[in-house]
């Protein structure tokens, strides 16, 4: 481990320590509460209000972090993977199906050699080959299968464009010289390629089953396991024809998921550091009543939560009762909550106004309405600490105790074109009735008066529109709505390289007339503006003085960082993020969110999976001795 790496580790450990101290509780993960050896067996029984899958659990397109945990920890193995543990060590890439790999000098050819003995579960019961991995990429390349993060491969691997009509279409940049070798030819060196190959969409798919499911999501009830567990009922799959295949009995999208051990899994092909596979199974049921989920955990009917937020009263119990602290786990969620400002919309088209907003926001007050430090550390930069630890301590807009610095904000406002008399207050008409989009649910609604009061201190008078979560997102995702400022949004990483956090949200490729995620229109070109209609084009012309002063952009810098590796790469991202917050200033980041998990007394070993942002199915252990097949699922 070099110095830089060590520094990263210490930085994050520091951040986590602050969170842990603040909440009076938890751990970085890994320690067994009992202190003894971890026993194998038993079933982790949990419940969730709704699975919320974005692509019906088909790994080719599924874009939900908690689903990624089920794949990576339980049922799918990739060329490379993670250790499925907490913090920065949990973001390190380790071999999985790949025994070894080598890269050509120009970084364009990557050759992976596969381990022998990795098998698909029954009824296939055959070795995983390089062709199965190539087939997974062919599915990503198939337009109708809607690979929701296919951009990490399209244009990166030669011949992979995302436009193929059928998953049987080979990709010119992927070859399989033999069953245990796969070679990728890239169009450009890609410094974070291994992270991309650890994503579930790239896990092997057996063509004999996959070919039967050519519409997005359809494969979700037929996911063939290559990992230590499989969906219950997989072994009963009739593979004699596509018509004969019935969904696995262990997954009802509406009611439950049951995972049992895959009898073909050979632990010798895996590492206990990656998957301890302590459990005999996992049973997840749908419970529409959140209170009930946590009551059932306390009564011992369930072993713990998964991705549900405990009710406030219960959270207070766990935070204040020393007997319960071992059962309450707080971990970094790799998610930033932020206020976004639109560079096309006055007064936010002036960088001094955007800086003034950054100075004036009372982040401590916002943190309080979220529930205080246990719910997250105050964010000063866009990247969560685990993703880019080097920026975790940077604070371009410091204020005493993060409560906002009105004087510094007014100094910035004085430099803006919207403060004609230099009193530090925006006095232009555009600062009256400024539409601020927010959610209509807690804690967001509780932020509204704080934001309103803070912004009034620099002369910006907002009219707050509180909308349900989906509508709020749709509103700011539609370019011609031209929303100046919004506080409804949060953003999480796709994978632990800054590219997996920054690309969509800050690159101009993230701009679209509808469904965009680059809400601030950072780097928007005239062509993009014109495509979104005359209203957007007029705003773009006004903001850029008809193109004479282009909007700030990080596209070039991102392209530069893209190819780099190691410390050079980290430094490049630090420079990019510094530029973002000091010169482009599209955001006011205010909270790096945490994830809460409650476990019952049956949990003998707790671990958090930093990759998926949820409990680590790969390492958690229980002592309930329950057979997953015997758990009632309704």
């Amino acid at each position: 481990m070099n110095f830089k790496r060590t520094a990263r580790l210490f930085a994050v450990v520091g951040v986590l320590a602050i969170v842990a101290t603040a909440c009076g509780g938890d751990e970085g993960g890994g320690a067994s509460p009992t202190g003894g050896a971890v026993a194998k067996g038993g079933t982790y029984r949990t419940a969730i209000e709704d699975f919320g899958f974005t692509n019906a659990f088909d790994p080719t397109g599924e874009y939900l972090g908690t689903a990624w945990g089920l794949y990576s920890d339980l049922i799918l193995r990739n060329l490379v993977t993670y250790k499925h543990i907490d913090g920065v060590p949990g973001d390190e890439i380790v071999p999985d199906i790949a025994e070894s790999w080598e890269t050509s000098a120009d970084g364009l050819t990557w050759t992976f050699h596969l381990k022998s003995g990795v098998q698909f579960g029954p009824p296939l019961s055959r070795d995983v080959t390089s062709a199965d991995i190539a087939y997974a990429f062919q599915r990503i390349n198939t337009k109708s299968l809607i690979a929701q993060y296919g951009n990490y491969y399209a244009g990166v691997i030669e011949g992979l464009t995302g436009d193929a009509k059928s998953p049987s279409t080979p990709i010119s940049g992927i070859s399989t010289p033999d069953a245990s070798t796969i070679v990728f030819t890239l169009t450009k060196p890609t410094g974070d390629l291994l992270y991309r190959f650890a994503m579930p969409a790239t896990a092997p798919v057996p063509e004999e089953v996959g070919k039967c499911f050519t519409k997005a999501g359809d494969y979700g009830r037929f996911v063939i396991s290559s990992g230590p567990y499989m969906i219950k009922g997989q072994d009963a799959l009739d593979t004699s024809s596509c018509d004969a295949m019935e969904p696995f009995s262990g997954y009802d999208p509406d009611k439950f998921m049951v995972f049992v051990r895959n009898p073909n899994y050979d632990a010798a092909t895996d590492s206990p550091d990656v998957r301890s596979a302590n459990l005999d199974g996992v049973v997840i049921t749908i419970d529409t009543n959140t209170d009930d989920i946590f009551n059932r955990i306390q009564s011992g009917e369930l072993d713990g939560s998964w991705a549900s937020l405990p009710p406030k009263t219960l959270e207070q119990q766990y935070l204040t009762n020393p007997d319960l602290t071992d059962n309450f786990h707080i971990n970094g969620g790799d998610r930033t909550w932020y206020i976004t400002m639109n560079l096309l919309v006055p007064p936010f088209d002036d960088v001094h106004v955007r800086k003034a907003v950054n100075f004036v926001i009372d982040k401590v007050a916002l943190q309080k309405v979220w529930g205080g430090p246990p719910h997250g550390e105050i964010a000063t930069m866009p990247e969560p600490p685990e993703v880019l630890p080097e920026t975790a301590q940077l604070d371009p807009y410091p204020s005493p105790n993060h409560e906002g610095d009105v004087a510094a904000a007014q100094d910035e406002m004085k430099q803006s074109k919207y403060d004609s008399d230099g009193d530090g207050q925006c006095d232009a008409d555009v600062c009256n009735n400024v539409l601020l989009v927010n959610r209509n649910s807690t804690p967001h609604v509780d932020m509204s008066p704080i934001l309103s009061e803070n912004l009034a201190q620099i002369g910006i008078n907002v009219k707050i529109r509180e909308l349900d979560t989906g509508t709020a997102y749709t509103t700011i995702q539609t370019a011609d709505n031209l929303i100046g400022i919004a506080s409804n949004a949060g953003w999480g990483k796709d994978y632990a390289d800054p590219y997996g956090f920054d690309f969509f949200i800050f690159h101009s490729a993230g701009i679209a007339c509808s469904g965009q995620v680059n809400y601030s229109e950072l780097g928007m070109s005239r062509a993009q503006a014109a495509e979104c209609g005359p209203k957007v084009l007029a705003a773009w012309n006004a903001a850029t003085d008809n193109g004479k002063t282009p909007l700030p952009s990080v596209d070039k810098k991102m392209d530069e960082c893209y190819t780099l590796t190691g410390d050079e790469r980290s430094n490049c991202w630090v420079e990019l993020d510094t530029f973002l917050m000091e010169e482009a200033v599209p955001w006011v980041p205010y909270l790096w969110a945490t994830v809460f998990t409650v476990t019952g007394d049956s949990v003998t070993h707790w671990e958090f999976d930093q990759f998926s942002g949820a409990l680590s199915w790969a390492h958690i252990a229980v002592n309930n001795g329950i057979d997953p097949n015997s758990v009632p699922v309704g």
Binding site: N55, A56, G217, T288, N295, R296, G634
Partner: protein
């Protein structure tokens, strides 16, 4: 009588067509956005939108689209009869999901209906027969509590006290008779039935009491007593029959409404019925599921109205000649 029933059936079919038409207009014609995009779920890619457009025939004029829509519902679609379509969110045919959930809701609604009738009507009768007595006051106090206590409050309260604290009742969830046996099924339904029934029982008690008090003051009751009929016969044969007709109307509508989904009870007690599915579908934007549930709820209310009308005709012969 036969003609009367046929007339009512024709009326039911007409009302159902109106319901489908209004639902169709709300979901397909009124939104400013392309309905194909709305129905395609969270990730409306061009391919998916094209699939939806093809499935719904959205490239036709809307009257044709509506005709196809009605045809699918009443004659079935590729997933069977009735034609309930496909969820683009979960990539599943909706018919098996909705029918299995409907079965659960029916169990919840019928069980609760039995409970509220068994509680509400006897209380109402006894209160009416001894107005302003201690029993009447206690009973009406109970009714006031039942009417005032919403399910979202009393449900979690019951769960907390009887399951979590006292452990005398099993917790939430649905356990089918076929898989888990009669005892487990029954024990898990007791609390939802009682909680759901409390509100209705209170209404029924008050309504029965008021109607019976009014009926018992009628001349023909006095005549019946004067003829020397026993009080039991006067009350049960002459008083109750007349006073229960409005209760039958209310019962039909209440049961019909519940069959369309006991939204809060199902959510609180984690019962996978059609109401909980409606809430889940609204949350996940699964519009075809919402459309189906809307139509099913409308169907049950219409159907129960028909049942009430027929029952009325039996209870009161004047109705069938009206």
């Amino acid at each position: 009588m036969g003609r009367y029933i046929v007339r009512r059936l024709v009326w039911v079919v007409f009302v159902l067509l109106v319901i489908t038409f209004i639902s169709y207009m709300i979901f397909f014609v009124m939104p400013s956005k392309d309905p194909a995009i709305i129905f395609a779920g969270r990730q409306p890619t061009p391919e998916l939108v094209a699939e939806v457009r093809h499935q719904f025939g959205l490239d036709h004029a809307w009257p044709v689209q509506y005709a196809l829509f009605v045809k699918r519902i009443f004659l079935g679609d590729q997933y069977g009869w009735p034609g309930l379509g496909f969820s683009f969110n979960t990539r599943s045919a909706l018919k098996p999901i909705i029918l299995s959930r409907l079965l659960v809701t029916i169990q919840l609604a019928l069980g609760a209906a039995v409970v509220w009738l068994l509680i509400g009507i006897p209380i109402g009768i006894l209160s009416a027969l001894k107005p302003r007595s201690v029993f009447d006051r206690v009973a009406m106090g109970f009714a006031l509590f039942g009417v005032s206590a919403p399910v979202f409050f009393i449900g979690p309260l019951f769960l907390y006290i009887f399951w979590f604290k006292l452990g005398v009742a099993p917790g939430s969830g649905y356990y089918s008779i076929g898989q888990y046996g009669l005892g487990t099924w029954f024990s898990h339904f007791i609390m939802p039935w009682i909680v759901l029934a409390l509100l209705f029982a209170a209404f029924y008690a008050r309504m029965t009491r008021a109607n019976l008090i009014e009926t018992m003051g009628q001349d023909y009751i006095r005549t019946a007593r004067a003829k020397g009929l026993s009080e039991r016969r006067v009350v049960l044969k002459h008083g109750l029959r007349a006073s229960l007709t409005p209760v039958v109307t209310m019962f039909g509508l209440d049961l019909g409404g519940l069959l369309g989904g006991a939204f809060i009870t199902e959510t609180v007690f984690n019962i996978p019925g059609i109401g909980a599915y409606a809430i889940k579908s609204v949350g996940s934007g699964d519009l075809y599921a919402i459309l189906d549930i809307t139509i099913i709820a409308g169907f049950f209310i219409t159907f129960m109205n028909l049942v009430v009308d027929v029952l009325y005709a039996f209870l009161d012969p004047r109705v069938r000649y009206a």
